[in-house]
């Protein structure tokens, strides 16, 4: 059941015109194609009407990151028992050090390496003479210091791809030397146009360097699934796993939140892949479908409406036992969901939210807001593709403002004019928005909270949105002697 409200599309079209006009002509033309409102398309279905996955316009202050950020921060970083080498100068590994909150269990520096910054720390001589020799010796040193590491990823930073290094050759040699998996990943930041290509490259590396490379001793059971593309931000993958296990499924691999290399290698043994973040891991799901015949199911564990829908959708794939279990799980948690809504909806009803996040949450969280009575009046992605926008429009009301790869300038203008009750975006957007007096939640890192997935996570989600929106400080922005 969808929440009933309307969005002023005409007003939003006006806003688009306003921001486009400020740009130089060429840039304005480029940006206009990325801004739109939800309308009925020629096929009768709603459409976002924006272009996506195109180079950012120079100088406008895109909020996007790079391929390295996508490969290291998203895909590789959470695999806990591998050592991930930031190969190149010190900065990339430094800025991404411990910043994605992909939780894990384990002992850091002993059998887990998630919150470490391990780098080849390129100096001028490496640029001139190449970094391969150092990389080779570096792996030996890491073997000495971290003997329980199960493998290595070599994550190239910009210079590596420009100076003609052969990290694949080094990787092969070191795999021989160590008897472990060593995966080279060409995720230089200048490749592609956003984090998105980094996800793709990292997926391809898993395909080419891990899957099917070593014999897996695993007897596949009827209920074996992989939990794909849940990165366990603030522990998200754990309430998700809990629901699936309560349904009677065996989650034999967690990709890549809190995962081990063994879980990645075992993946082709599953019956089905369950994918949360379509954008970052559809590639590997398609590969496993083509190569191993494993089907995949997209699901959404934000908010009770989508959770129940997803549990039923997943159960459809299995036998009656699982279907009955799904109903039992939904029935078990419905009182919790109802109690959360009863508590928070009166405080959040009718509040308007604007979102700008990566490649999934701008659509996936929409219904969770609506479960709380909130209205999504604007949304957009940093690095989504056309297939993401196709998956988005039906979540939204006609007239909703949609902004692809929005710049700082555009976001600021839209927020200032729409004055929503909440903006959900990232650290770069947070403080400027709050200075306008508009409440904010970081929706990449859950603003150091979470989990938000599953029923357990929905309670946290609702609590956090209430805290942000109804904080007393927002009534104190103006000095009382000026407030009149």
């Amino acid at each position: 059941m969808s929440l009933d409200y309307t969005v002023d599309g005409q007003f939003n079209e006006g806003l688009i015109k306003e921001v486009v006009e400020v740009h130089p002509e060429k840039a304005g033309k480029k940006r206009a194609r990325h801004l739109g409102t939800v309308k009925e398309g020629s096929d009768g279905n709603p459409t976002c009407g924006v272009k996506s996955n195109i180079k950012s316009v120079p100088g406008v202050m895109t909020q996007r990151g790079c391929a390295y950020a996508g490969a290291k921060g998203v895909v590789w970083g959470p695999i806990k028992d591998m050592v991930h080498i930031s190969h190149g100068p010190v900065g990339c590994g430094h800025y991404s050090w411990s910043q994605r909150r992909n939780y894990f269990t384990g002992t850091v520096g002993i059998d887990s390496f998630v919150t470490m910054q391990i780098t080849s720390d390129f100096q001028e001589r490496d640029i001139v003479f190449g970094g391969d020799k150092n990389l080779d010796k570096m792996v030996d040193e890491l073997e000495t210091l971290f003997p329980l590491a199960r493998g290595y990823s070599i994550l190239s930073e910009c210079p590596v791809g420009l100076i003609g290094d052969d990290i694949e050759a080094v990787a092969k040699k070191k795999a021989n030397d160590t008897g472990k998996l060593v995966v080279p990943c060409r995720c230089e930041g200048f490749r592609g146009i956003s984090q998105s290509l980094g996800h793709h490259i990292a997926n391809d590396c898993i395909r080419d360097w891990i899957l099917g490379k070593r014999e897996q001793e695993w007897e596949t059971g009827p209920y074996d699934v992989n939990l794909i593309a849940d990165y366990n931000i603030g522990g998200d993958a754990w309430p998700s796993r809990k629901l699936l296990e309560e349904m009677g499924l065996r989650v034999i691999g967690s990709w890549t939140g809190d995962s081990t290399l063994a879980e990645i290698e075992r993946a082709p043994k599953a019956k089905v892949n369950l994918i949360h973040c379509y954008r970052s891991m559809n590639y590997i799901c398609r590969h496993m479908e083509e190569t191993y015949g494993i089907p995949w199911i997209e699901y959404n564990f934000f908010g009770p409406t989508q959770i129940a829908k997803s549990l039923r959708k997943i159960a459809e794939f299995f036998d009656d036992t699982i279907k009955e279990n799904a109903e039992k799980v939904i029935a078990k948690y419905q009182p919790l969901a109802d109690a959360v809504i009863e508590k928070y909806k009166p405080r959040l009803d009718g509040k308007r939210v604007m979102l700008f996040v990566g490649g999934l949450r701008p659509r996936h969280t929409a219904t969770a807001y609506e479960d709380l009575g909130m209205q999504v009046v604007g949304t957009g992605y940093e690095f989504a593709h056309n297939d993401d926008y196709q998956r988005t429009a039906h979540y939204l009301k006609e007239g909703t403002l949609v902004y692809d790869d929005a710049s700082e300038f555009e976001l600021e203008h839209f927020i200032e004019k729409i004055r929503p009750d909440l903006v959900g975006s990232g650290i770069k957007e947070k403080y400027g928005t709050q200075k306008m007096g508009v409440p904010f939640r970081q929706m990449h890192s859950w603003d150091y909270s979470g989990p938000y997935h599953g029923y357990d996570g929905f309670a946290v989600f609702a609590r956090d949105m209430d805290r942000a929106i109804n904080a007393p400080v927002w009534n104190k922005i103006k000095a009382p002697w000026k407030a009149a």
Binding site: T62, Y95, P451
Partner: protein
Amino acid sequence: MPQSADKVKDHISLFQEPEYKELFRFKKEHYECRATEEEVAKQLEYTKTWEYREKNFARQHAVINPPRACQPLGAVFAAAGFEGCMPYVHGSQGCAAYFRSHLSRHFKDASVCVSDSMTEDGAVFGGLNNLVEGLQNCNQLYKPKMIAVSTTCMAEVIGDDLSAFIATAKEKEVIPAGLPTPFAHTPSFVGSHLTGYDNMIKGVLNYFWEREAQLERKADGKINIIPGFDGYAPANNRELKRYLDLMGVDYTLISDVSDTFDSPTDGTYKIYYGGTTLDDSRKAINAKATLSLQQWSTEKTLEYIAGKGQQVAALNSPFGLSGTDAFFMKVAELTGKPIPEAIEVERGRLVDAIADSIHWLHGKRVALFGDPDYTCGMTAFLLELGMEPAHVLSSNGSAEWEEKVKALLASSPYGAGGQVWRGKDLWHMRSLLFTEPVDLLIGSSYGKYLEKDTGTPLIRLAFPIFDRHHHHRFPTFGYQGALRILVEILDRIFEIADASSDISYDLTR
């Protein structure tokens, strides 16, 4: 059921619940194929040994947890300290996103910086088109008074020439010829964020003093002060200005980020807020002297300024009593102004406070890590508190830094046995803390992993501080700042004393 609407549990308590503990256990047992608990325990113990330390210190290629960032971060920070300036990063866009995030996470404030988003074709053909288009768009959208251009390593590796590219952009009239466009090449494979800071400050001065117009220096009575790359800059720069005003000194702060990274919430977001005015930056050539508070963040800049005929001087992050004394005496020397009574009273209060607390401080062994000037200044302060700096580590310190800190340690009986670790990282520090333990660790938030692993209490007193709020809004500079550092150290010592024994749970200490 662990969760409830009445008392919502988030990650801090939710995952302590039995259901989740069982989930972790089950996952580990059935799916993870991790090393056994015995293997983990054995390796963990091994990492605490001298033997492991020797292997750890023998490494020459792997760098593990270095507390050091790369050049353009420093350049962006430096540029942010000028009025109406938009920092501009020429090269890959991900770098700009990282710098903004990094600064925002520390300052809990907005941080802006544009990138010209070079991609693979830029790598092949060079980034001229990106720069021309980027400057035009940046100027039209954000209407800066100045655009300060630095580079990512991608642009450096392919050899883009900023001077020529920016000149081309102006010839094409995509930005006004009069728009100040200082620049600095900031390869991330040379030096650290401090090198980038130095390069950008020099770039800005060089732009105003030679490129915009060839200025003739006409000496006036002012002095320039360069605060350096300082995570406490919002409060420290304000404290600095208060002192200089008290002394009646006519001064210019070169790159003042105190308002940029600490602007008020009043209902309007101002993308530019505060900073050294461009006119003051031009006139800074006329100053009689320039004083840098961070020698190793301003080496090239000071050399450049000295070449213009100014007297130059540098301190090493003046912390504490003698650090602040040295600052005042240097300012007095450079300006001829006497140090007023009010400052002496403040000094006296600090001495009073230190004297009250010496018994709790003396003999406490401290490990310290961070930027070279910072560790140098902090070592001096610890020594005068009667504390013992046992390990002083800087991954970006030079040989000169090492000598200077060694000389400092040698100057005090409390420095005996203190060791200086140049070019080492926090994985080295972990071995040091296990094999030669200390009472306290002083550094940035990155030290929290050392605190967890080794049980050494961490006092956060260095950039970046991500996991505590608002520390940068209170000064560490000057006598007031020293008082604050003193209280932070004492509070930690008292907390440890309270927590460690029932018997000595004294009401008064």
